[in-house]
Symmetry: C2
Subunit: 167 residues, 2 copies
């Protein structure tokens, strides 16, 4: 990206929305567009930090979830539910993680319809290092004041609840 | 996605972060993860609304930007700056829009290093209809109260400013 713009282009779009008679939709348009832009900034930063670990943010989330599970393993369908991604997205992530030896798919002991996803020793090691880097380089240093992060999380929790993410 | 989860999985991850001694990073981790999840919800909703118009949200943004420009045209490099996407992403969007006759690339009258992007008559028609649907189905009905949308936009503006999005 070249030098910063003199004015926020999303604020400009919001002004255009109002000028064209869509004032009732302007705040919502601006908020939604800003969320997408912000997600893209964070995703680029996270992926850059995780690249030396051979991970993307999506694959990191799979490892982190398994790392928190009591047995270091979870059924595929439960993992996809907790990560709130479609089964096909999870399958893609797991294919890559399995190819690099960070996770294993193993038979579920009692449910033949699903398989267990298990963190390998190497997966635990990579997770440990990757999480340390994310904590130090992204989460401790996000560019967002702590009070803003908390308010944001509350607003997004209300929204995600309204969209059926959780009860 | 199956039935809603009994608890917010991002709040659970936040608890895990605190339990493992990363309390200083927990709020930031939760906010960033929630932003990515929320962006994904909105992107899916926007893309579903735009599909009947043959558009994605990224391609809609290109049309909307051109629609607001005084001459209905903009240099490619300026468009990529205002949309805050890399030149290659814009090229992909424009390739698709040009293939369906919604925009044209035309020579820049004075600058041989860039080309102008111009909205076609069909592009204007599609933009008009697509924007109407987005306003009615997404922006008027986002699931986020107006006060939340405004606070969110302010927080994200501060953050985007800190990341060099605009001066």
């Amino acid at each position: 990206m070249p030098s910063p713009l003199p004015r926020d282009p999303i604020a400009q779009a919001r002004d255009q929305w109002i000028a064209h008679g869509w004032g009732a939709e302007a705040d919502s348009m601006a908020a939604i567009t800003a969320i997408m832009r912000t997600a893209s900034i964070f995703l680029q930063r996270a992926d850059a930090i995780l690249k030396p670990h051979g991970l993307t943010f999506a694959r990191f989330e799979v490892l982190a979830l398994l790392g928190f599970s009591k047995r270091g393993s979870l059924p595929m369908n439960h993992a996809s539910q907790l990560l709130q991604v479609h089964a096909t997205s999870l399958t893609n992530s797991v294919d890559r993680l399995e190819a690099t030896g960070l996770v294993r798919r193993i038979p579920h002991p009692t449910d033949g319809r699903t398989r267990l996803l298990e963190l390998s020793g190497e997966g635990k090691r990579v997770l440990f290092n990757a999480r340390q880097d994310l904590n130090e380089q992204l989460f401790s240093n996000s560019g967002m004041p702590e009070a803003d992060a908390r308010t944001l999380f509350q607003i997004l929790s209300r929204f995600r609840h309204s969209q059926g993410d959780f009860l």
